[in-house]
């Protein structure tokens, strides 16, 4: 086994754009669930909308700023569509509607009737031009060791992580303010907050939109190093984001970032080790394809163990969760 390569790949995941995209999506989910108590099981839909609403205008020749605005506006509209009928109801209704609508939008973009727009099952590619065009880094290869990338890959990483930092700062500023106090109050008991004269519905909608826009921007970061593939946006994606958020701690600033890094490093390590073992003949009873699946079975087990034994995550406050209210 080439241990150097395995560890190199794993370490590279720490700053990969995919890690940044998942972190961003988990920060958005943290606003939904961790702070406001909204059970959003359709975060994948926000990533999908971000990805398509960015790629489609770009392929139609729109400048990058228009494409980004389109992604943000589409996710805001989607948040309203989800929120208007469900946010007046109990929290569980939002959970049902989000999980269903995430599947609905995925089936819509996969429809062959929309091939001209969405590429149906093949997805979209060739939309990186406008993003690469504003890259200030001169052509070449930079970095050291496992962190050696060309100018485009660095550009994606820099922008991706800058967005993660921006989102974290935004969440920090929001949650230390009276606004954050209101949404945290809603998480605890929305009737109590209502009885104190706060428009609970409006705050829930604001939180849904903010987290949704973060998910949508995460969708853009996610597709910049690859193509848009509808198969990427299954409920599995939503549950990876949930795992990341819970791993780091739901209502924390650094939780989603560190959670995402750990998630991807562990996935990369297990993949490297399993594949290495299979290729060297140490593991004979499974194929590499099966090994790939096993990793995701482990993610499910990890999510269960996490919720049972460390529900507060890495950064969460144990005391905060030790009360059963």
């Amino acid at each position: 086994m080439d241990w150097g390569n395995i560890f190199g790949n794993a370490v590279g995941e720490i700053i990969s754009p995919t890690t940044a995209a998942y972190a961003l999506a988990a920060i958005g989910l943290g606003v939904h669930f961790g702070y406001t108590g909204l059970l959003n099981f359709g975060q994948a839909a926000f990533l999908l909308i971000g990805a398509y609403a960015f790629a489609i205008p770009t392929l139609a020749g729109a400048p990058i700023i228009v494409a980004v605005l389109s992604a943000i506006i589409c996710s805001v509209i989607f948040a309203f569509i989800l929120g208007i009928p469900t946010l007046r109801l109990r929290a569980d209704y939002l959970a049902i509607v989000t999980i269903a609508s995430a599947e609905v939008v995925r089936y819509i973009v996969t429809t062959t009737g929309l091939t001209d727009f969405t590429g149906a099952a093949n997805g979209l590619s060739g939309f990186k031009g406008t993003f690469a065009a504003i890259n200030p880094i001169p052509q070449g290869t930079y970095g050291f060791g496992p962190f050696t990338y060309n100018e485009y890959d660095w550009w994606v990483r820099i922008v991706g992580w800058a967005l993660v930092i921006l989102a974290s700062v935004l969440v920090f500023l929001l949650m230390r303010s009276p606004w954050g106090r209101v949404v945290k109050g809603i998480r605890e008991d929305e009737d109590a907050v209502r009885s104190l004269g706060k428009n609970v519905y409006s705050y829930k909608m604001q939180a849904l939109v903010i987290g949704g826009v973060m998910g949508s921007v995460a969708g853009i970061v996610f597709i910049l190093p690859r193509a848009v593939q509808p198969a990427n946006y299954t409920t599995g994606l939503t549950f990876f984001i949930w795992t990341i958020m819970l791993l780091g701690g739901a209502a924390t600033i650094f939780g989603p970032i560190v959670g995402s890094m750990i998630f991807w490093v562990v996935l990369s390590l297990t993949q490297g080790i399993l594949y290495g073992a299979i290729e060297s003949g140490a593991l004979t009873f499974i194929s590499t394809t099966q090994a790939g699946q096993i990793r995701f079975i482990l993610v499910g087990v990890a999510l269960m163990l996490l919720v049972i034994f460390r529900p507060q995550g890495i950064f969460g406050n144990k005391k905060e969760l030790s009360f059963s209210v």
Partner: protein, 333 residues
């Protein structure tokens, strides 16, 4: 239901709070809440059916009645937490019918809940600050710029500290609300409601589950509220407390207002005694089992007479004689 005896006593009574004659639904000289023909139906059950109700301003009004009388439902309706089938009501001259709960609270009518709703994973201070109204930092965009709300936050914190000290919760300031005892949560909920300087505070069973020592201090707080000019409406089961602090008592039974009046006289009203305490209020229920007509034992006896075969079966199955108070006592010995 409708054949409840009228609460009118032989001599028409008057009272300084009341315009005209004292009686259910009487007009007050200075009402803060006026409700008209408020009904709320749950399926076939009319939980609330109030023709006219006025709550006096600046006084402590108790809303009493047996379980299921519709007191809490009336609370929910008045505060916008539930929608009535019919009815209008106004608060301080403003119609509040159909107004959402948060706007009712902003208008100055703040409530607490029977089952305390402290926000467990927020600190006691955060709970308090949430009660303050008109906060600039609660806007989405203004919240991002701390200088816009820092000063107001400091003022609110000072007020919150002041209230916490009055309610003897200042030592718990930084603790999570979930770590408070049940009685302390009641105190916190009341203090939190006061953060908004309400015109009318509506307390749903403020004493339920609170130990006697704390009850005394809660009573003191409620009296202080009146001295500060706040009107108080509260639901309570503890008659001694009602007698002790309320200026006016409104009695509900089966959704209607059956009587109202000052506490000294309302308790003597036969309608109240019947509705609230039941016809056997002056008898021990245990005695009732022994001597008086007992519907359960009566039914058992009739069943035995009608179906002697059951008894035979019971004997065959090894059951003892039918349980009577006498045999139960023997068992206990």
């Amino acid at each position: 239901m409708s054949n409840l005896p009228s609460s009118q006593t032989a001599v028409p009574q008057t009272h300084p709070l009341v315009k005209g004659e004292v009686g259910p639904g009487c007009a007050k000289t200075d009402p803060i809440v006026i409700a008209d023909s408020v009904t709320r139906q749950f399926g076939g059950l009319k939980a609330v059916d109030v023709a006219h109700l006025e709550i006096p301003r600046g006084k402590i009004t108790a809303l009493i009645g047996p379980n299921g009388a519709g007191k809490t439902t009336m609370f929910n309706l008045l505060t916008g937490f539930d929608k009535p089938n019919t009815g209008t009501w106004e608060f301080d001259g403003k119609s509040l019918a159909g107004v959402p709960a948060f706007k009712v609270a902003r208008a100055g009518m703040v409530r607490t809940f029977q089952l305390t709703k402290s926000l467990g994973r927020l600190s006691v201070l955060q709970n308090m600050l949430l009660g303050a109204t008109g906060q600039r930092g609660e806007g989405l965009f203004s919240s991002l710029v701390k200088p816009l709300w820092r000063k107001q936050e400091e003022e609110n914190t000072a007020r919150a500290d002041d209230l916490l000290a009055r309610f003897k919760l200042d030592a718990k300031r930084e603790d999570y609300a979930a770590s408070l005892s049940g009685g302390q949560r009641k105190l916190l909920e009341m203090a939190r409601a006061l953060m908004s300087n309400p015109e009318l505070i509506m307390l749903d069973e403020p004493m339920a589950g609170v130990n006697p020592a704390l009850t005394q201090s809660l009573l003191g707080h409620i009296k202080n509220l009146k001295d500060d000019g706040t009107s108080v409406l509260f639901v309570e089961h503890d008659m001694h407390m009602v007698m002790h602090i309320s200026d006016w008592v409104i009695v509900m039974a089966e959704g209607r207002v059956v009587a109202e009046g000052p506490p000294e006289t309302v308790m003597k009203d036969p309608a109240v005694i019947d509705a609230y305490l039941g016809a056997h209020h002056d008898e021990d229920l245990g005695d009732l089992m022994e001597d008086g007509p007992n519907p359960v034992l009566e039914a058992e006896r009739k069943a035995r007479e009608a179906h002697p075969e059951i008894e035979a079966e019971h004997e065959a199955a090894g059951y003892a004689e039918p349980v009577t108070p006498a045999s139960r006592e023997e068992e206990q010995r």
